[in-house]
Amino acid sequence: MVENRRWLNLLSHAILLLGIGVLAFPIYVTFVASTVEMRDIIRPPLPLVPGPHFIDNYSEALTRGVAQASGSPVALMLWNSLVMALAIAIGKIVISLLSAFAIVYFRFPLRMLCFWTIFITLMLPVEVRILPTFKVVADLGMLNSHAGLAIPLIASATATFLFRQFFLTIPDELVEAARMDGAGPLRFFNDILLPLTRTNVAALFVILFIYGWNQYLWPLLITTDASMTTIVMGINRMIAPSEDQTNWPVVMATTMLAMLPPIIVVVTMQRLFVKGLVETEK
């Protein structure tokens, strides 16, 4: 620190605490709402301390609440979300590592075409091409399968681009050294590139895991079988039921359950996540 002005430090702490408070407030209220009864909620104000119905609401969410909405218990939905999120994260990382490696370390005809083909998918949301994509998946017989949930969503350029950027920062001397040692491209990839990329893979994994976990519209459309329901689509279904009043306490309990896994991933893998995320930017 350049100088140590007491009031400035106090101000910094105050602003940070305030920021944390504002960020956390909605979650706290959600938690409180998940521990009270519907009748407490429709008579505002909601109390600011948790109520006595924690166990009731969470066990209803776990065993019945979401099951009503989708015909499958929440444990199964958490499992489906987990499988989908892992498949998307791992799938993207694998195909992106390979294609980024090809694009950076080889010169071959149509290289730029390949690059642009992949690149143009960057940022395009699923929402705008969802109907035709649905038809393709149906024609391939992939409805109601984990493959159908995950594979269409790994068609994105974000990871490829990230790895490309990273590979470009790796000193050329490494390739020269490898070639002098007689190592082929696959040896180089496996022995040198992969270990160097580990941090990026971990960081990307966190981001993609969250991306996969938070998918909503796609699973909603392609799963016609209750045993394939994911947790986020389960919640969204509970918020705006066709004919019923929203059952807020149970919705909020389910919301807490749905938010926990990605938050745990971010917080526990924080060091890797932050390091990888920021380092790739250099």
Partner: protein, 440 residues
């Protein structure tokens, strides 16, 4: 140990779900996509279980596909990909879309005939089935959940305002006086409504026997145009707008969000679907009453009858004939007086057959639950006219969205009723023309 018990429950639920995923190989599977969650979803599941238990050749598999719009979309997308279910629950505003899709829909009357089920259209309540019947009187879809809007009022608030809790306002004129009294007694929300277009334009028009759209509200053909900007409707919407300005009418959302404000005691009166009865009864801690929708007593022909909302079951084409026999059996089961009466009494939805109505009367249900017959009386008091059979428009979901937007401008005081309704008619007609063109 609580945790262990839950774990066991979960394991049981999982194995239960697993056993459902693989039905007995012998039975033919009938896919039924629906939009029901919560208590309604449970009752639906019970009906399906009841049918499956009574049946060895066919097993109905009920799949929740999101809310009404999502379920319809899922059905359409699945049809285009040739993965459609046998039965699709479609809300009433999707009726014209389904009817126009001749090659995609297997009309219910034909399904029943081909399935060898005894099918007599006369056993059904005409005001319910009329919404889903073509001009020749053929029933195209099976009414499932049908309701009509009624007035709910807080008896304690009435008392506090010096109003007689046993004589709710019958006309909108009386209603205005009640609003004044409620406001004077300190109510911050004398009145709110759910489903504004359905209650205050579609049903309002039928109730006052004025057209909502030409060609008998769209029953006569796709070349219909909207005409709900007539003087009767404009007067009503303007009155609501004035009440909104004076704080007597508080707007709470396009769907049924306002229900919570009535249930909490904040709002004294609520216009809401008759099917809202169960949740209002469960959540309120005060005495409430149910009454028929008010009308303007100086309008000719009022009160006529109100129309339904809700959803019906459509049968989609593209499956082997023998599977439709299972569909027909399922529909017969759903129409049986016992199933219907139970459905009606548990949910507040209207029964679809005379027999179920009579059975409910016999069981003394209406005496034990005062107000629950209001909807039926209101719907069946008079034989429906051209203006009160229902509303059948293409792109109706979007047209309702437009109406919502324009009405919101009236409640906010940025447009007069005439301007808003003129604009809604004009914008809606563009969609109707586009729909007509896409379906010719």
């Amino acid at each position: 140990m609580r945790l262990n018990r839950n774990a066991i429950l979960l394991a049981a639920a999982l194995s239960f779900a697993g056993s459902f995923a693989q039905p007995a190989a012998a039975a033919t599977e009938i896919q039924f996509w629906h939009a029901f969650t919560g208590p309604l979803g449970e009752i639906l599941a019970k009906q399906v279980e009841g049918f499956n238990a009574s049946e060895s050749d066919y097993q109905v598999v009920a799949v929740y596909k999101g809310n009404y719009s999502e379920a319809l979309n899922a059905g359409v997308a699945a049809f285009r990909a040739k993965q459609q279910p046998h039965i699709l629950q479609v809300f009433e505003v999707g009726t014209a879309t389904m009817m126009a899709a001749k090659g995609a829909v297997n009309p219910v009357f034909e399904v029943m005939k081909a399935g060898g089920e005894t099918f007599d259209p006369a056993v059904y309540l005409p005001t319910v089935t009329g919404y889903y019947t073509d001009l020749e009187g053929n029933m195209l879809s099976m009414p499932y959940n049908s309701s009509t809007p009624v007035l709910y009022y807080n008896k304690e608030a009435f008392q506090a305002a010096g109003l007689d809790p046993e004589s709710p306002p019958k006309t909108w004129q009386e209603f205005g006086a009640a609003l004044d009294a409620l406001q004077a007694s300190g109510s911050v929300c004398p009145f709110t409504t759910t489903w504004q277009s359905w209650v205050h334009l579609e049903n309002f028009s039928a109730w006052h026997n004025v057209p909502f759209a030409t060609q008998a509200n769209g029953f006569g053909g796709l070349d219909t145009t909207l005409v709900f900007n007539g003087p009767t409707q404009v007067r009503h919407i303007q009155q609501l707008g004035d009440w909104a300005r004076d704080g007597k009418f508080v707007y709470g959302g396009r769907r049924n969000e306002s229900g919570a404000r009535f249930n909490s005691g904040e709002c004294a009166m609520l216009t809401e679907s008759s099917a809202g009865y169960a949740s209002i009864k469960a959540q309120t801690e005060f005495d409430f009453g149910v009454s028929s929708l008010p009308y303007w007593d100086d309008a000719d022909g009022a009160p006529q009858n109100t129309i339904i909302g809700g959803a019906s079951l459509w049968v989609l084409t593209g499956h082997p004939q023998e599977e439709y026999e299972g569909v027909a059996k399922f529909f017969s089961y759903l129409s049986s007086p016992e199933v219907q009466a139970e459905w009606h009494q548990q949910t507040g939805y209207l029964p679809i057959t005379h027999a179920a109505y009579d059975l409910t009367k016999e069981q003394g249900f209406y005496e034990q639950n005062p107000g629950t017959e209001t909807a039926l009386i209101q719907m069946t008091a008079k034989a429906p006219t051209e203006n009160s059979k229902g509303v059948r428009l293409g792109s109706f979901d979007q047209i309702r969205g437009i109406i919502d937007e324009e009405l919101e401008a009236v409640w906010a005081g940025t447009k007069s009723a005439q301007e808003a309704l003129d604009s809604a008619v004009e914008r809606g007609n563009v969609l109707l023309r586009r729909f007509e063109r896409a379906n010719n």
